[in-house]
């Protein structure tokens, strides 16, 4: 299939790519605090996101304790419960997953994978991280103000979000809104960097179609985020004005405890439209980088070229485009024109086509591959299973008549956790096990990794699979306690208790992962430059971890795509992207 040329003229000198002037850090603060090195900014993003993610995990434990054993824990009041639900959602979707995939992996991997020395606007990149950090601090501060954090759900629907009676309707919601606005400004700075870096700073020979799918996923997700976040930004500003200055963008005229409030004519549905215009692309902003990373993990650890690379790229682009035309499927129960519902149900179901195409291609990549069941591979395969499960329940919810009775039940919770919580998180873990050797120079411990995988994978199914059944029974989501709902059988409570126990076990085992990350940093097996024998450029750096400037004296030149695994006639079962054509037969093994 691959034409092997041994033409002498194919040898080429290293490409002359315009060198950029790098900012060289001299002090500790320049190097580790206000760093302009994308790799370090990526690590800063990642650790901050994980820290706030642990808060989100603890909040889910609060929710599960209450749902599994209602009335047992006196410190969980109805208000606390609602606050835990809301902040868990906000933290996990925006401050953990978005920041982790785009800010963390985007910063670390984009320059390395495309063969650049750094991002094109390093100062803006640094500001991006510090604004994100500030946004996290403001969000955390909202826990400690009078009235506490907001309890209006992660979607912050008005009018409830800013009416007295909802927990945190005072300073809590104000701080949340300010935090979101700061986050968006910070993200825009980072996002501009990722897009322009991918477009303009690729190494010579690195055409768009030679990019690893990881970069395609992050790149497309960033474009989507740049166009979608403004919707959240403007709705956040308008709600902030409604709350603080008494405007009526979203607030209708209301009578509260016999008193007519100073609002009139506002449109709460307007907020829902703006929110979901951001909110649905957000699902894919999290999912597309995960798709890309999973593709690379599967290909590398199955020692086989990704099946249908071009289709994978097109699927990413089509999913990205379509996801802007489906937002109102989150609003089927808000009341809408029937034809609107029909339109949005149709577009929603059409997304299943490119998504299914990706799943087939992952499976076909595995087919007759030389599968290595390494820890990253286990997580990647776990992701494919989980994503299929979550996607299938999405087909149910995409249909209006099925969605209407299920919309307010745990079925929806089960669906979106499978598809956009467990799936991306599995990819995230796989990616950490895969790239940790490059980031630190040491391998993560394999045994701990395997235990972590199996507990997380099986545990996630123990949590979310039974939840589908609870949803079918009509058990409502967001409720503090069911008390005596006649249609819910008593056995539902036993299932709830089982889910809680599984959730607590899975939560506790994430500490093993953190222990592994810290332990391996000091005691892990030295990794060498390219422990997975991978083709992409980040594994071909002279130093591990890569130094400031990423590559040595000269930037790499790229001669081939990222998936030359098990090429017939080649000496090794992989050919690095920067290996010149004719040299490969004899020196694939000795490539750096």
């Amino acid at each position: 299939m691959v034409a092997v040329t041994h033409d002498e003229s194919a040898y080429a000198p290293p490409a002359e790519t315009e060198e950029v002037e790098l900012h060289h850090a001299h002090t500790f603060i320049e190097k580790y605090v206000f760093s302009q090195d994308a790799k370090w900014i990526g690590i800063q993003y990642g650790t901050t996101a994980l820290a706030i993610g642990l808060v989100g995990l603890a909040l889910s434990a609060v929710m599960r304790l209450q749902l599994g054993f209602p009335g047992t824990f006196s410190f969980i009041t109805p208000s606390n419960y609602l606050q835990a639900v809301s902040m868990h959602g906000l933290i996990m979707v925006i401050y953990l997953l978005t920041a982790l995939f785009l800010g963390g992996f985007g910063n670390y991997l984009i320059p390395l994978m495309i063969g650049a020395r750094d991002m094109v606007f390093p100062i803006m990149n640094m500001l991006s991280y510090w604004l994100y950090f500030l946004a996290v601090l403001i969000l955390v501060a909202s826990f400690f103000v009078p009235g506490g954090a907001t309890g209006s759900g992660w979607t912050l629907y008005p009018p409830a979000a800013i009416l007295p009676g909802t927990p945190g309707s005072g300073l809590g919601i104000v701080l949340t809104l300010v935090s979101l606005a700061v986050f968006i400004i910070g993200f825009t700075m980072g996002g501009l960097n990722y897009v322009v870096t991918v477009l303009q700073a690729r190494a010579r020979g690195m055409t768009l179609m030679r990019l690893p799918l990881t970069v395609w996923g992050i790149f497309t997700a960033t474009i989507m985020a740049l166009l979608a976040f403004p919707a959240l930004f403007v709705s956040v500003l308008m709600m902030l004005l409604d709350q603080t200055l008494g405007t009526s963008f979203f607030m209708p005229s209301l009578v509260l405890t016999g008193q007519h409030l100073d609002y009139s004519g506002g449109n709460p549905i307007l907020f829902q439209h703006l929110f979901w215009y951001f909110g649905h692309p957000e699902v894919y902003i999290v999912a597309l980088p995960a798709f890309g990373i999973a593709s690379d993990l599967i290909s590398t650890h199955a020692r086989k070229a990704i099946f249908g690379y071009r289709m994978m790229v097109w699927a990413i682009l089509i999913i990205g485009g379509l996801s802007f035309a489906v937002w109102a499927h989150h609003m089927f129960v808000s009341g809408m024109n029937l034809y609107f519902g029909f339109f949005f149900a149709t577009t929603t179901l059409i997304i299943a086509i490119p998504t299914a195409l990706k799943v087939y291609n992952w499976v076909l990549t595995l087919w007759r591959g030389n599968i290595h069941f390494t820890v990253p591979m286990l997580f990647a395969i776990g992701f494919v299973f989980t994503f299929v499960n979550g996607g299938l329940s999405g087909l149910f919810l995409g249909n209006v008549p099925v969605d209407v009775p299920l919309a307010h039940t745990l079925f929806v919770v089960a669906h979106f956790h499978m598809v956009m919580a467990v799936s991306p998180v599995l990819v995230f873990f796989g990616a950490i096990y895969h790239w940790y050797p490059k980031i630190t120079g040491r391998m993560l411990d394999d045994t701990m990794g395997r235990i972590h995988f199996w507990v997380t994978f099986i545990g996630a199914y123990c949590i979310f699979f039974p939840m589908h059944y609870l949803g079918f029974l009509g058990v409502p989501r967001r409720y503090y306690a069911l008390d005596t709902a006649p249609f819910v059988p008593a056995s539902a409570q036993e299932l709830n208790a089982e889910i809680s126990i599984a959730a607590l076990i899975v939560g506790a085992f994430q500490l093993l992962f953190i222990y592994n990350v810290i332990w391996s940093y000091f005691k892990g097996k030295p990794a060498g430059t390219n422990p997975w024998r991978a083709t992409t450029l980040e594994w071909q750096t002279a130093h591990t971890p890569p130094q400031h400037g990423n590559f040595g004296e000269t930037l790499p030149a790229v001669y081939r795509w990222a998936y030359d695994y098990s090429v017939p006639g080649a000496a090794e079962d992989f050919i690095p992207q920067n290996q010149p054509p004719a040299a490969r037969a004899d020196s694939a093994g000795s490539a750096r």
Binding site: L227, G246, S248, Y309
Partner: protein
């Protein structure tokens, strides 16, 4: 209602079609390529800052378009009242047009390498832009003085009506973008002051000019939507 959405959809369509065009008929798995024949790493033969500005303008357009969508949707409510148009806005519009023209003259001078003219153009741009912002704040004051802006406790914001709320939102968002432009303008002006020659600041001046054009176009659209006759026309067409 549909017009603004078409704008956002077109931005996405342009991006997606451009990307798809890069990918058809490319078979990266077939053959490695010798590097002499390989294209350079950049997709556009433009400096990164130019591409960055282009992407940023797409983001800003998305923001303004969505705000306008919200304006149209909110317009359909029964409590909509015609905006009391502060006449100072005409003066402000004139100032912004003049600052844009000053920026253009700075660009023309930088192309011809005349650094003195660049400096004069930049200073005029800055003075006129700050005057524009001051004028906007004056417009806020005018509305406030006529009782159209007070906090909720006396029911003022409601009495003023949602159109006024949108006026404040539009001008604040646009004003923040002007301030962002003035930050870059400030850095460029400082460099000219410190003796940079025309060639060194040329890119900054070019990009500032593009941005000032953009600020002017956005302001003209927002202004048009606020003019009572036009907003009533839009409202009539929306609430059929």
């Amino acid at each position: 209602m549909m017009t603004p959405l078409v704008v956002v959809v077109s931005i996405m369509a342009v991006a997606m079609i451009w990307l798809l065009r890069q990918t058809v008929n490319v078979k990266p798995w077939i053959e490695e390529q010798a590097v002499e024949s390989a294209p350079s790493g950049a997709s556009f033969s433009l400096p990164p800052a130019t591409v960055g500005l282009g992407v940023f303008l797409a983001v800003a357009t998305s923001l303004f378009v969505l705000t306008i969508c919200a304006y149209f949707m909110r317009m359909m409510a029964a409590d909509w009242r015609t905006f009391v148009f502060p006449s100072v806005l005409w003066l402000n519009t004139g100032l912004l047009i003049l600052s844009d023209l000053a920026m253009r003259s700075a660009r023309a001078a930088s192309r011809r390498g005349k650094i003195d003219r660049v400096r004069a153009g930049l200073i005029a741009t800055g003075v006129l832009s700050f005057a524009f912002l001051a004028g906007q704040i004056w417009a806020w004051q005018q509305l406030n003085a006529s009782g159209y802006f007070t906090t909720a406790d006396v029911g003022g914001a409601v009495a003023a009506g949602p159109a006024n709320s949108f006026f404040y939102l539009f001008t604040a968002l646009h004003g923040l973008h002007v301030l962002g432009g003035l930050w870059v303008w400030g850095r460029t002006t400082v460099r000219v002051w410190q003796g940079a020659n025309a060639a060194r600041v040329r890119l900054s001046v070019e990009l500032c000019t593009v941005y000032w054009h953009y600020l002017l176009v956005v302001w003209l659209v927002l202004l048009a939507l606020l003019i009572p006759a036009i907003s009533e026309l839009c409202r009539g067409r929306l609430s059929f």
